[in-house]
Each structure stands twice: as structure tokens, then as C-alpha cells.
Amino acid sequence: MAKHKTPLLDQLESGPWPSFVSDIKQEIEHRYANPKGVDFQVPAECPDDLLGLLELSYVDGETHWKHGGIVGVFGYGGGVIGRYCDQPQKFPGVAHFHTVRVAQPSGMFYTTKFLRDLCDLWELRGSGLTNMHGATGDIVLIGTSTPQLEEIFYELTHKMGNDLGGSGSNLRTPACCLGESRCEYACYDSQELCYQLTQQYQDELHRPAFPYKFKFKFDGCSLGCVAAIARSDMSFIGTWRDEIRVDQKIVAAYVGGEFAPNAGAHSGRDWGKFDIQKEVVDLCPSGCMRYEGGKLEINNKECVRCMHCICVMPRALKIGNDRGLSILIGAKAPILDGPQMGSLTIPFIKAEAPYDNLKEFVESVWDWWMEEGKNRERIGETLKRLGFARLLEVTGTTADPRHVQEPRHNPYIFWKEEDVKGGWQREISDYRSKHQR
């Protein structure tokens, strides 16, 4: 039986959506029942006290967690977020309540074996509560004590063959969409690239050497199912540079009503008969399509690969064959300079193992940022401060109209001395010889 009365939280047990309160309560019960007789390494009442503390926050309208403490495992600068509660007497079970970030497999497919092992580990050495998954992508194990950290790490690496994820001024745990594994839109193997770069940059991930955090995210296509463009300092987003493959017969079948448009994504409402002109051609952002005489024509040269037409008729329209990805730099949340999305830096690059071209690019970017970035300055902020052209320069990228949505509005160009005939050294006496005071 739970120690604490939680009348406010109890109100979150009703309603259709899975109740985290009910779930924690079942963990509390399970923990007190302890059918397998586990010798819990953190207090059995840990989830119980968490609920109690949370109830107190619901009463007070304020958090009861203290400002983080620096804890971790030997040799790593991240992977653990230290946490202590500010009412340890009342809630001893959560006096220490650190989280452990466990590196997730690319695409977040699991075997039940792996998950059960993790549950066993976390039952023994933690609160039994998790986040599946954290916002960056890690498996987040919430609630353990300092002495357990090395033990957890040891078991994780030795028994499960898995590492911790990132935190601090590191490379953060990279994440990807499921891509080729179950998606016909994938333009490259987002999982494999995610994995390979994660392995390549283990040192950057575990040992803080950056001005601030740095995130990689990998979207297989421009639909952005892992939201790379919004929340990764470097976003890898799949695309192609040849032609959308069109099967006119199947287009006709869509027009004829044989297949539901957009794979049935809108089937919950009667939107009327499918109208290819209105629903596809007219919505194409580049206006590069025509439907005439029962034939869909795409002027691929003008297509901006937004994927809309493909989404509407996935059986008929397919991504191109000459595939690769775009790289965008600088996405981040608003703190401090305001929000940023990634800015297109490499419009197109091939993405094939062993990905040397990509690694070279990554490293040229980091070299620059580590050299010039200020403390706690995300690369997007460095970019704003030093100018986008600087990034192109240090990465050996040729400036291209694709780098801008539109050219600059102001004529404030920082010319360099070598650009200017005759250089900058001038004598006032020469000037005065032509221009009296």
C-alpha cells in the first residue's frame, strides 16, 4: 500500500489516455509485493515517494527537485543527470534520484530480451521508472543513487553490450527516423549513418571538449520524422537529385478512386472524391506539375522535393534513384538567442559507407566551432555571430544561391583586403594631393 495520499494525482487516473499515475501505482504495488524477492539496491519506496513528492508539487505548484549535482561514471563527462529532492526527510526514497541516459539503438527497434534485461537491471538498481524515450532519443532511466551508477554502467556494458548516452558539452546521443527499415520514402540508410557516426565519435560523445552541446539527427527524407531540422546542430536529411518515378497507371487508379489518397491518412472524414488537380497539382509548392489528358507530368528540374505528391499517391510516385542527403546546421531551442532551425549548408551529398565524405565535413565544422565558439554557445549562435560565409569557408564549401532563401537586404558586405584592387593601405597625403581640406 502506498505511503502517501495523492488526491490530486488520483484525478489523473481517469480519462482514456494511459495514466502515468496508474502506471506508477502498479510499480509501487509491484515493488512492495516484490514477487521475485529482488534485493532492491535503491529503496523499495522509491516510486511511492516519487508520487508523494509529485503530489506535493501539485499542491505547491512548484518543483521539489534541487539544482542538479555533478555525478557520473569514471572517465565519462556525461550520461548521468544528478538529482536530489528538497524534502529528503519526507521522501527518503527519492533523496537521490539521478537519471541514467542509455544509448538507444538506431530506430528504436528492440527485442524483448534486451528490454527485459534492462528492466531487470533497473528493478535491481533503480526506481523501476523510465522514459521511453527521452526527448533527445536516449532510453532514460529515472531515479537511482550515486553508488549505483558505476554498477549500472558495468552491467550495461558487460552484460548488455550497451553504452550510456550523452549529456553536457558533448556530442549528444544521435537519433534517427526508422528510415529504410520500414519506410519507402527513405533516401539513405538513416539508421546506419546514425550508428556509424555514433561509433566514430564516441570520444566526443563521452568526453566534453565542445563549447556546448552538439546534436546530430538523421531524417531519411524531408518529411522529418525525427525533427532533425528543428533540434539538431547538424541535421542530415535525405533527398534525391534525379527524377520522381511515376507510374501513370497507378496515378489513374488514384484518380479513379481505386486507392485512398495519402495512403488513407484522411479516411476518418468524407473529404469528397479525390481531385488530383486540387489536391496535388495546385498544392505543389514549385508549381512544377501538370495533369492533362490523364497524364501527370512533373518538371523535375523545378521540383523542390517537398514530397507532397508522393505522400498523396505513395503507390504511384516514388522518390528518385540518385539519392543522398542535405546537411543543415544550427538548429536549437530558443535559449538564449531565440529559436533556430538548421540552415542548409550542403544541398546534396552522397551517403554511402564508409561515409568518409560526411565525416570529413563533420570534423571541419567541429574544428572551427571548437576554435571560435564561445563557452555555452551553440553552433547556430556561432554562425549568427561570425556569419554563414565563414562556415562555408572553413568547410571548403562554395557559396551557392541554395544557401539562402533570398540574398541579403543590406549592402553591409565585409570585403577583404585581397578582394580590393590596390589593397587598403592608403596615405592621407595621397588623398590630400587630390582633395584639399
Partner: protein, 381 residues
């Protein structure tokens, strides 16, 4: 409880140490049909809400049942998921980027049975354990953060606001009747751990009181110059005060300059911001991430403040519901929420959603603010 060693020897931390191995390679975890057809999928179809069918060039089919879950999840819950996966899916399952759970099977019959099984499971409190849905033109799971469950800077709770919201919009999770997908995100402070800044609807915890300064302890727990440098508006300056007869180094905050970002608290524990009355929710709408039709865009603040009303935040959920319903009734097919608002104009958005506009919604943060003001005489009465 007796300390059980994993084998780790604190005296010799480097002994047998395994480091830098990263995650397991994903290929170890793929269901066979997925592994086989990887990179060779032909098309997909949403058979019914929460049920996807992907067809390989090989002709193989995989049916995916997607179900929602609270991201804050117990191992008891995970073990139940494993039981289900063992029963139906040969011991495989996955999680989506929005914290849904996906089970994959190879026949429609299995898919239907699985769906029935999942929807039959309920918590004792009455909620579904594994509601099936979250596909297509509907609302899917809310991406969220820690809130009062784990973080030190939240201005509201995450799990609670999410539960309250999902309950209210639940019908849209299990139906696909909206004009386009609507992605709701939640972050409990301005750090915005999530894609709240690019979401159709975003719930954001905000503070509204400047930090309290714990003068007695400040100099011991943080470095004054770092605290000063933390403030993006330059509201903090170093100062000395007399405290219990002693001169101590501390900081002073120019309250009028504070915009409650909490960055000072991140850098200095002696400057807490949270406050029952000061804290609450701002709502943002109109962001998106996909490049489909229109470009990715930021979310915009449309309600500057709603007080915290735990446990169910009724004012907040009412506004969200109103926005969602208005959008559903008014937008074109395929039109994301922000694209709808842009098309009808934000003046109409406020009118139709019955929201009050206030000066708080006019950007005043740095130079780019200008670009959100209106430099045209095009507007609607």
C-alpha cells in the same frame, strides 16, 4: 538491502572496463520481415487508425499496430509490452520518435487480434493501457519533458499537462479526421527540451517572477561572473551587500529587464525562479517540421499565460480543444495548423478561436522582432 556488486571494483575502476561501445547495432533488433525488406519497401497504407501496412517490393507485408503510452513508464508496463510482443510479434517491438509503441506482425488477422488485445487492456483507474491510434491526419502522442517529476527548473508539470490534454483530444488520436497531422508538444520551461518551438500546438511552462537571490549562499554555490554573463538581457550585475554584519559578494537583478528565461538559475542554484503564482503555461501554435508543401516554421505564442491548475489544467485544455476544433472545421485538406492561420490571417485566427490578443504576443526580443510586425497595409478588419 545488501549492496550487490556488478563486478565493478571501485579500487580499480579501469579493470575490465568497457567503454565507448555505443549502442547495439540496430540490425540485432529488427524483426525478420523488416530486416529482409529493409531498403526495399514499395508503399504503405493506413488500414485503419493505428494500423499501418507496409508492402515490400518482394511482396512481403508488415502490419504495424501503433499504440500510445505515457512516456513516463514503469518496468511493469514495459514487461507487459514485452509479453505482448512475445505473444504476437516474435519478441520484437519498437518505439516511435513520439513515444508511441509499435508492434509488427505479418498478417492482417494477427494485426486485428493484436489491436483488440491492446485496446482491451486497462489500468485499474480506467484509462487505456495501450490505446491504438496516432496515425495519419490526427493527433498523435505528445512529445514532452520532465516537469515536476524530475527537473529543477520547470514552471509546470509535464506528465500531468500531457495526460489532461490527451484525455481531451483523445478522439483525434483514434480518428483520422483532421485536415492534416497535428503535433502537440510540451516543455516545462524555456529551455524547451523538445521540438516545442516547431509544433502545431505547444504547451510551454513559463516563469513570470524574477529570480529570488539567496544572498547568503550565492558566492559559495556559484561564480558571480558566470551568473552575470548568463543573463541575455544584461539584467544581472555583481554587487556586494552586508549580510549579518559581513560584506558578501552577490548579484543584483534589475527586475524590469528580466524576461524570466531562467538561464541565471541554470548557471547558479542560488537564483531560483519558480513560484506558485508566477508560474504557468504559455500556448504556442503554428509550427511545423516537415518540408511538405510549406517550409518548416516556428511556433508562435498565442496565449501568453494560463495559471497552473493541477491536476487537470482545465483552462489550458479548453483553449487547446477550441483551437483544434476550429482548425478542424475551417482548414483545407492537407493544410497544417500554421498554414491555415497564415492563410486566414492571424487576426482571423484570434477571432475564430475566441482568443484575446495582448501586447505580450508582439515580439520585442532583439532585432528579428521587427520581422514579425506587419509591414503592409494588407490586413483584415
Amino acid at each position: 538491502m545488501a549492496f550487490i556488486s556488478s563486478g565493478y571494483n571501485p579500487e580499480k575502476p579501469m579493470q575490465d572496463r568497457i567503454t565507448d561501445i555505443g549502442p547495439q547495432h540496430f540490425s540485432k533488433f529488427l524483426p525478420p520481415v523488416i530486416a529482409k525488406n529493409k531498403g526495399a519497401w514499395d508503399y504503405h497504407e493506413i488500414v485503419e487508425p493505428g494500423m499501418l501496412m507496409h508492402v515490400g517490393l518482394s511482396g512481403d507485408k508488415v502490419f504495424t499496430i501503433r499504440c500510445g503510452g505515457a512516456r513516463l513508464m514503469s518496468i511493469t508496463n514495459i514487461r507487459e509490452l514485452c509479453d505482448i510482443a512475445d505473444k504476437y510479434c516474435g519478441g520484437h517491438l519498437r518505439f516511435t520518435t513520439r513515444n508511441n509503441i509499435e508492434f509488427m506482425v505479418t498478417t492482417l488477422e494477427d494485426a486485428k487480434a493484436l489491436k483488440a488485445d491492446l485496446t482491451s487492456r486497462k489500468h485499474t483507474g480506467g484509462s487505456f493501457k495501450f490505446p491504438v491510434g496516432g496515425t495519419g491526419a490526427g493527433v498523435t502522442n505528445i512529445v514532452h519533458t520532465q516537469g515536476w517529476v524530475h527537473c529543477h527548473t520547470p514552471a509546470t508539470d509535464a506528465s500531468g499537462t500531457v495526460k489532461a490534454t490527451m484525455d481531451v483530444v483523445f478522439e483525434e488520436f483514434t480518428n483520422m479526421r483532421l485536415p492534416a497531422p497535428v503535433r502537440i508538444s510540451m516543455a516545462c520551461c524555456l529551455n524547451m527540451c523538445g521540438a516545442v518551438h516547431c509544433s502545431d500546438i505547444a504547451i510551454l511552462g513559463i516563469h513570470r517572477k524574477p529570480p529570488i537571490i539567496d544572498h547568503e549562499n550565492l558566492d559559495n554555490v556559484c561564480e558571480v561572473p558566470l551568473a552575470v554573463a548568463a543573463c541575455p538581457t544584461g539584467a544581472i550585475r555583481p554587487t556586494k551587500i552586508e549580510y549579518q554584519g559581513k560584506q558578501i559578494n552577490t548579484v543584483a537583478v534589475k527586475n524590469e529587464r528580466c524576461m524570466f528565461c531562467g538561464n541565471c538559475y541554470t548557471m547558479c542554484p542560488a537564483m531560483p525562479l519558480s513560484d506558485r503564482d508566477g508560474d504557468g503555461i504559455a500556448l504556442m501554435v503554428g509550427g511545423k517540421i516537415s518540408n511538405r508543401i510549406t517550409k518548416p516554421t516556428f511556433s508562435k505564442v498565442i496565449v501568453p499565460f494560463i495559471p497552473n491548475e493541477p491536476p487537470r489544467w482545465p483552462t489550458m485544455t479548453k483553449v487547446i480543444k477550441k483551437i483544434l476544433d476550429t482548425y478542424a472545421g475551417d482548414a483545407h485538406k492537407y493544410e497544417r495548423l500554421g498554414d491555415w492561420a497564415n492563410r486566414i490571417g492571424w487576426e482571423r485566427f484570434f477571432e475564430k478561436c475566441e482568443l484575446e490578443f495582448s501586447h505580450h504576443l508582439i515580439d520585442d526580443f532583439r532585432d528579428p522582432a521587427y520581422y514579425t510586425w506587419r509591414q503592409t497595409t494588407q490586413f483584415k478588419f
